[in-house]
Amino acid sequence: MAQKPVQFTLNGEDKAAFASDGQNLLDMLRRGVGDLSPKYGCGQGACGACTVLIDGEPCLSCLTLAETVDGKDVATTSGLSSGSGIHPLQDAFMRNFAAQCGYCTPGMLMAAKALLDRNPQPSRDDVVEAISGNLCRCTGYEPIINAVLEASRSGASQPNG
């Protein structure tokens, strides 16, 4: 099977991998370069658990061909925290009980990060709209919405707090 070399940055670090025919970005991130934070939930763009940022835009990595990120910047939940500190969004999710099983959380965080990066002071409706592509089955959306709003008040739009 044909393999294509792909070079990209992942959370600020240079990465290189071979993408096989039809391989999606989710699979390349998880198995190709070992970033396990994006999750498989549906494989058809319905659940948002695989959400990552490509050049700052939230994207569904299960519907993105791996080879298309060549030369681009990919950000995932693995890169949210720096050193021993955690990002204000992560902190707000913790304090608001915005995760139960935790499986949708990395995708939720990236969708929220994309929102706060372009709109540091979102309204409640803005938050609802921003996470409308991300399904959660246990926590319920209220604590997640509250967490994102709280993070916006604490300056989460600043990179790494």
Binding site: T77, F93, M94, R95, F97, T105
Partner: protein, 569 residues
């Protein structure tokens, strides 16, 4: 985070010196969740991991004439095609670990399939894509059989037989009856004396648990002649025991690692993935992953079972329910899984949180050619509660009583006897109704506000019926209760003994109807409680639910201590 606790309710029963209970406490796994580092089963990477996909039945019901796997086996990248004959012990029932129910379900069917999506072969290949391609190349020669999808159709004579272990499409309870019985008092006599007889039919659909993480497992060889299995299961030891049984392996050779579950809601107890992943690993010597994709999860993953309930209530003009009769059909789908157990739970819950002196239930666990049902949050309870509470509204409308008042009027209270013969403790329906009315702005009478679960119960309401009408309806000859020989023999013997006793019993004289002191209704004149008549002893107890002779002191038939039994003291 603020949590509202109603400390005004049951205030004298609560210790307020607890350090954790009643206070928000951080989850121990939260940091892992928000950093994306929580170790879900699929977050374990293995060099050379093989992928598994199943060949599934396109038919609801079909005999397998033959399976031709040769073309699939020739496909480059296919490592193994597993069929039923490769499974060391290819028949299981989840509850057989408790010796409850006959083995009825193969891991991979080799004779016939009984639901659409039932697996008949498993491809193990280098990639998921190759496994999918190979699935399409397996040729199965099907002999399509007539199927049945409706619970009541399934138990009619001549219906297609779905499940080989239960040819009449009904689970056999305790090796004796083709349904789960509940008999408490004399419902038919009470219905004859009721002012209103109110009937209802309620149907609930199957519901998919839909966890964000689909079901799956990865198995890999360990150096010490064991297999390690990373799994999304909700019941780690349950899955371990099931895998050991199906694969005929000592459980000491299985090393299960789980505990991080991406949502389950009951749908991750069926232990389908662990044994197949381990078998793939055993047959190839390589790490092997078997996971549902989302379509599998929705189409093949076992849902909450559908239920159909018929309820007949006998109700007096003042709103007191004096009799409640249930006929229930629980749609197990093609195999038992946990449905038989759900019904046992459901029977213990009847007639809902109400004190009704005469209760009758026949609950059937029915096999149909639908996806097998399994656990989901409160299964066995939720479905019948849907029926009961809808019926309560129907009763309220029919009799012309406010629905909240009707519920409180019939609510169980501490000290009451429940139909499964345990004393009601820690009851709180009345307080729930009061808070629900308050929160929703529902106008209620002063009477409603004055009621309490702590008063008005017990006494005569805590006594067992003086007479319970029993029967042998649905008795099954040659019944077996479990998969192990000794147990079934014992059951068979006792079943015969009971039949003989039933035949020998003299007909019971018509016993007096039981009534009970009741909470005073708000708008009706005070109802004088009829005295409980001390009836002549009814005919010798013979039936399965008949009462043994009881001492004259307060009867306390509870067999099990309740973990919450100490709260109110």
């Amino acid at each position: 985070m603020s949590v509202e606790f109603r400390k005004d309710l049951f205030a004298d029963e609560r210790d307020d010196d607890l350090n954790e209970i009643g206070k928000p406490t951080q989850r121990q796994d939260m940091l892992g969740h928000v950093t994306g580092r929580s170790p879900f089963y699929d977050d374990h990477l293995f060099e050379g991991l093989l992928h598994m996909r199943c060949v599934r039945s396109p038919h609801h019901h079909a005999r397998i004439r033959s399976i031709d796997t040769s073309e699939a086996e020739r496909l480059p990248g296919v490592k193994k095609v597993i069929v039923g004959s490769d499974v060391p012990n290819n028949l299981n029932a989840l509850l057989s670990l408790l010796d409850f129910g006959l083995d009825d379900e193969p891991l991979l069917s080799d004779k016939k399939v009984s639901y659409k999506g039932e697996p008949v072969a498993a491809i193990v290949a280098d990639s998921e894509r190759i496994a999918r391609d190979a699935v399409a190349k397996v040729r199965v020669d099907w002999e399509v059989l007539p199927h049945v999808l409706d619970v009541e159709e399934a138990i009619k004579p001549g219906a297609p037989s779905v499940n080989g272990a239960y040819p009449a499409n009904k689970f056999i309870y305790h090796g004796k009856y083709d349904h789960q019985k509940l008999r408490y008092g004399d419902v038919d006599a009470a219905l004859r004396q009721a002012d209103h007889v109110i009937e209802g039919r309620y149907q609930m659909s199957p519901i998919e648990q839909a966890p964000m993480e689909t079901c799956g497992a990865i198995a890999a060889p360990e150096t010490n002649d064991r297999f390690v299995c990373y799994t999304a299961t909700q019941g780690l030891f349950f899955s371990l025991g099931t895998a050991a049984k199906l694969l005929d392996l000592s459980s000491a050779r299985l090393h299960f690692i789980g505990g991080t579950v991406g949502g389950g809601f009951g749908g991750k107890v069926d232990s389908l993935h662990e044994p197949l992943a381990i078998l793939g690993c055993m047959l190839t010597g390589k790490p092997c992953k078997y996971m549902f994709d989302r379509e599998d999860e929705m189409q093949v993953g076992a849902p909450r079972g559908a239920e159909r309930w018929y309820i007949t209530d006998g109700v007096m003009n003042d709103g007191h329910i004096v009799a409640r009769k249930f006929i229930g059909y629980f749609d197990a789908g093609a195999y038992t899984r946990l449905s038989s157990y759900a019904i046992i739970k459901g029977a213990g819950h009847l007639p809902g949180p109400y004190t009704i002196p005469n209760v009758y239930a026949d609950i059937y666990c029915v096999y149909t050619n639908r996806t097998p049902a399994t656990a989901m949050r409160g299964f066995g309870i939720t479905g019948v509660d849907f029926a009961i509470e809808n019926h309560m509204d129907k009763v309220a409308n029919t009799v012309g009583i406010d629905p909240i008042e009707l519920r409180i009027l019939n609510a169980y209270r501490d000290g009451d006897m429940k139909a499964h013969r345990r004393e009601a403790k820690n009851t709180a329906l009345i307080e729930c109704c009061q808070v629900a009315a308050e929160k929703s702005g529902w106008q209620t009478s002063d009477w409603v506000k004055q009621q309490s679960s702590l008063s008005g119960g017990g006494g005569e309401r805590g006594q067992l019926p003086t007479h319970t009408a029993t029967d042998q309806h649905g008795f099954v000859q040659d019944g077996q209760s479990g998969s192990y020989g000794g147990g079934s023999k014992r059951q068979e013997k006792s079943a015969y003994a009971e039949t003989a006793a039933a035949r020998a019993a003299p007909p019971a004289a018509a016993p007096p109807l039981r009534s009970m002191p009741v909470a005073q209704p708000p708008t009706q004149p005070a109802r004088t409680p009829e005295p409980v008549q001390s009836a002549p002893a009814p005919a010798p107890a013979t039936g399965p639910t008949a009462e043994p002779p009881q001492p004259q002191t307060r009867r306390s038939p509870a067999r099990f201590s309740s973990i919450s039994g100490l709260r109110r003291r």
